[in-house]
Subunit: 271 residues, 3 copies
C-alpha cells in the first residue's frame, strides 16, 4: 500500500516551497532532493506568494521564527491553499514562547493546513495551549505519556482544524477526523541529529504534494519511510560513528530506499 | 594551462566575502576552505563595505534574498569594484519572482561584475527577461536546449555587461565578449545536492581573486575543477551511498585535487 | 580531573540557547547533541528572554551579526545572568568592522559573561581595540606571537571583565583573574573546517551549564575535549578524505569520546 506514494514522488518530482529556519534548511533541502522532490527556500514577504504559486506544495516551519516572517507565512499559506496546493505546518518549539504560540494560532486561524506535524509538547500547545517544552529536539516528559492519550490528542487537533495530524515519538501517531494509524518505525538515534523532525515535515510535504488526493495515506507513507531510513542508517553505523555519520547515512538511505524496502519494513496498524 | 590557477589559490589564500543565502552558506564556507581560500559571511548593510574592503573578492548570491540585503549587496559590490576586487554574481532563482528579477537587474546596473554564473533559466532571465524556472536546483526544460543557443545566450550577456558569463548545464559554457569555452566535466549527481551551483560560484570567486588579471581563464579552471571533483566524488560512491555521502566526497575531492589531476581530467574546448 | 565534567553534561543534558550565525548553526546544534546537551536557536528580540529563561545556559555568537540581533543578545544575556545561567561570548570577527567591535563592547558592558572565547585577533580587539583580522577562520599573523603575550592578553581581559577567557591557537590559553592553563591538544586540520571555533564555544556552553560552580575547570575540560576530538578525527582520515569527512569524524568523536579517553589524551599544564 505504501510504495506507490514513494514512487509518485520520484515520478512527479514535486517542487516544495519551504519557509523554514536557518538551522536545518540545508538538511531539509538535501532531504527533498534525496527523496526525488526539489526544494526552494524563500521567505521575504514580497516574493513568497509568487514563489509558492510556482510550486506544488508548501512547508511552514517555526524554528528560528522571526516577527517579520509571520506575514510571509500567512501570505504563502493562503496563496497555496487557494491554488489547491497542500500546506504542512511544523510548529517547532510552540509552547516555548508567546511569540511562537501566538504565531502558530494565527496561522491555524488564517490557513487551512493539509498536515500538522509536531512532537507531543508541540501538538499539546496547539490543542490545549499548555506544554512542557525542553528545547526543540526532545521532550522526555511528554514522550512517555500513554499512547492512548497521544492518540486522543492527535484526533482532537485533527477534528478542531480538519487536518491530518502527526505526533512523533517512540510510536508515531497519524490521524485525521475519522481514522488513525500507529507507526512503529524509526530509531532513538534520530533524536541525536538536529532537524530530523524538520526533515520529516519536508518529506511529508513532498509526499502529499505528489499525491494530493490521498493526504492521510501519503502522510503515513512518508512517516514510515523516514522511520525505515532511520533504522537503515543506524544499521550502517560502525564503532567510531556518531551523529555526524548518522546524518549522512540518513540522507543516503532516503536516496536509496526502494518501494520494496518500504513495504517490507513498514510497521503500522490502523486504529 | 589550468593547474597554475589552482596553485595560485593555495599560495595566495584569498579571503572571499560572501553575501549569500542561509541554505548553503556552510557548504560554501567549507568549499572555500577546501580549495585553499578563506571565507567570511557578512550581510548587514552597516558593515559590508568595511568587511569587503579587507577581503580579496566578493560573491553575491540571491538565494533566500531579503529586501534588506539588497542595499548591502549594492554597497559591497560598489566598494569591491572600486578597490579592484573581483565580484561574482550568482542570480539564484532569478525569473522566479519579481523581487529577484528586479534585484538582479538593479545589481547589474549598479555593480560591474567580473563573473556571472547561473543555469540557463537564470541567465535567460538576466538577458531576455523571461524564463521557465523550476526551483533553484534544476530546470529540465531549459537545460535540454541546443548548445549553440546556450553559447549565444552567454555571449549576449557577456557583451551586454562586459563580463565573463558561466552557464552551467550538461555542458558548461564560459564566455566573455570575445572568446568562449565549452566544458564537459561534472556529473549529473551534482544536481542531487543542494547548493552545488552556489559552491561553484564561491569557487570561481576564489580562483578569480587569486588571479585577477586572468578572469576568463581562472573561471574556466574553477568550473573544470568543480566538474572533475564532481566526477571523483561519484567514483567514490558505494551501493549504500546517496547525496549525504556525495556531498562529503565532493568537499573531500576539492581538498585533495592536485594540479596534475586537473590537467589530466579537464575536458574543455575553445569555441 | 576532567572526566567528571564530561559526565556531568551527559547526566544533566543542559539545554543551551544559542543566538548565533546562519553559517555554523547546524553544526553547533549537532555538536551540542553529540556531547549530550540539547540546543535551541532563537534570536527574535520578542522571544529571547522567555526562551533563555527555560534553558540552562546561553551562547552569544557574533558571526553574521545583524543590527536587529544586538538587542536580542543584550536582552537574553541580561535575563540569563539574572537567573544565574552561564553566558558564553564568541566575538566572531570582532575587529573586522565597527559594527562588530561596537556590538561586542556594548555586550561586554551590559552583560556579565562566564566565558569569552576567541582567537588572538578577536581577544585583542576586545582588550586593546586593535587587531589584524583575516576572515573568521584563521589569522596567521596573530597566531604566531609569543605564548607569553597571549597568556598576558587572556589574563588582562579576564581581570577587566571578571570572566574566564579562552584564546584558541596552536596552544590554547584558558585563564581567569587568578589562574591560567596552557592546553596542547587539537590539530591544525580543525582550521580547515568552518565553525570549529563556534562549535567549541557551544561545547563550552554545555560544559559550564552542567557544572556552573566550576566554570574555569569545566572550560578547561571542554577545550581539551574538543582538542582530543580534533586529534581523533584526524587519526581517522584516509587518503581520499578532506574537510568534508573531517567534519563528520569530528562530530562522531564528540559522540563517542569517553571520560577515560579524555583523561588519557588531555595535555594541559597550570601556569
Amino acid at each position: 500500500m505504501l510504495s506507490p506514494f514513494l514512487e509518485q514522488v520520484r515520478t512527479r518530482s514535486p517542487l516544495i516551497h519551504n519557509i523554514t529556519n536557518y538551522v536545518t534548511a540545508n538538511d531539509c533541502a538535501n532531504l527533498l532532493l534525496a527523496c526525488g522532490a526539489s526544494p526552494i527556500m524563500a521567505d521575504d514577504p514580497q516574493e513568497v506568494a509568487e514563489i509558492t504559486a510556482g510550486c506544488d506544495g508548501l512547508v511552514l516551519n517555526l524554528g528560528t521564527l522571526h516577527t517579520h516572517t509571520i506575514p510571509a507565512m500567512l501570505s504563502a499559506g493562503q496563496t497555496s491553499y487557494t491554488l489547491g496546493h497542500p500546506v504542512v505546518l511544523d510548529p517547532v518549539g510552540v509552547g516555548a514562547s508567546a511569540l511562537r504560540t501566538n504565531a502558530a494560532h494565527m496561522l491555524l486561524d488564517g490557513v487551512r493546513f493539509s498536515v500538522i506535524r509536531g512532537n507531543t509538547s508541540e501538538v499539546k500547545a496547539l490543542t490545549l495551549g499548555a506544554s512542557h517544552s525542553h528545547g526543540v529536539d526532545a521532550s522526555g516528559a511528554d514522550t512517555s505519556e500513554p499512547l492512548e492519550q497521544t492518540l486522543a490528542l492527535a484526533q482532537t487537533l485533527a477534528r478542531q482544524r480538519r487536518t491530518v495530524v502527526v505526533v512523533t515519538g517512540a510510536v508515531d501517531v497519524v490521524a485525521d477526523s475519522n481514522r488513525a494509524f500507529l507507526l512503529r518505525n524509526g530509531h532513538p538515534y534520530l533524536g541525536r541529529v538536529t532537524g530530523t523532525g524538520c526533515m520529516l515535515s519536508a518529506l511529508i510535504g513532498a509526499y502529499v504534494a505528489a499525491s494530493p488526493q490521498q493526504v492521510l495515506e501519503a502522510t503515513v507513507a512518508a512517516v514510515c519511510a523516514m522511520g525505515v531510513c532511520g533504522e537503515q542508517a543506524f544499521a550502517r553505523m560502525g564503532p567510531q560513528d556518531g551523529n555526524g555519520s548518522y546524518k549522512t547515512y540518513l540522507l543516503d538511505a532516503v536516496c536509496t530506499l526502494t518501494g520494496a524496502d518500504l513495504e517490507r519494513s513498514a510497521n503500522y496498524e490502523v486504529r
